[in-house]
Amino acid sequence: MLHIINKSPLSNDSLGSCLRVAAPGDILLTEDAVYAATVGNAFEGKLREAMGRFKVYVLQADWDARGLGDRRIEGVSAVDHGGFVDLTISNNCCQSWL
């Protein structure tokens, strides 16, 4: 399953809840959720721990818009909008967490 998160984990618990209950799969971070994938953010440890079970992606446009440059945690992949579509196709189901 592809889990799509769009809120920063530092002000909203969607990503935390997703990591708590979701079975292994793909996670795409969009909009403010991309901050979760930055080196040195308070959620970094939890994301790194979850990366053993999940493949984590960030949406490149949202990443760039926030000026995050080379701060991406190693092992997190960036995808463009075409890559986003590919992820929704390669997974049988998507869940957009609110």
């Binding site: 399953m1 618990d13 969607s14 809840s17 708590r20 209950v21 979701a22 079975a23 799969g25 049988n92 189901c93 998507c94 869940q95 957009s96 967490w97 609110l98």
Partner: protein, 123 residues
Amino acid sequence: MSEGAVKKFMFVNRKAPYGTIYALESLEVVLITAAFDQDVSLVFMDDGVYQLKKGQQTKGIETKNFSPTYRALEGYDIEKLYVEKESLEARGLSEDDLLVDVTVLGRAEMGALMNEQDVVLSF
């Protein structure tokens, strides 16, 4: 709409009832979905478990108390109601505090159940 394959729909409710419109919107979508004879599951986790808290009295906030409607779901053949265990415990609640019968699931069981679905809608 009896033709076509039955799909597994899951509604994931994670918001408390009155602070935002999500809980009520979800309930309305669920009731409409019931007309299409699909396999519907409802999940209550995080603050969503507060939607099922017994004893809601909304007169003072001049808002419709829709909590009795959860008890109507059975009549709509929606009988798969799941609550995540840690969310319940984190709020000092137990099954006895809830106004409908639910199945309490641990996080791993919940994750597995989500993965079985054809459509997951989050509220």
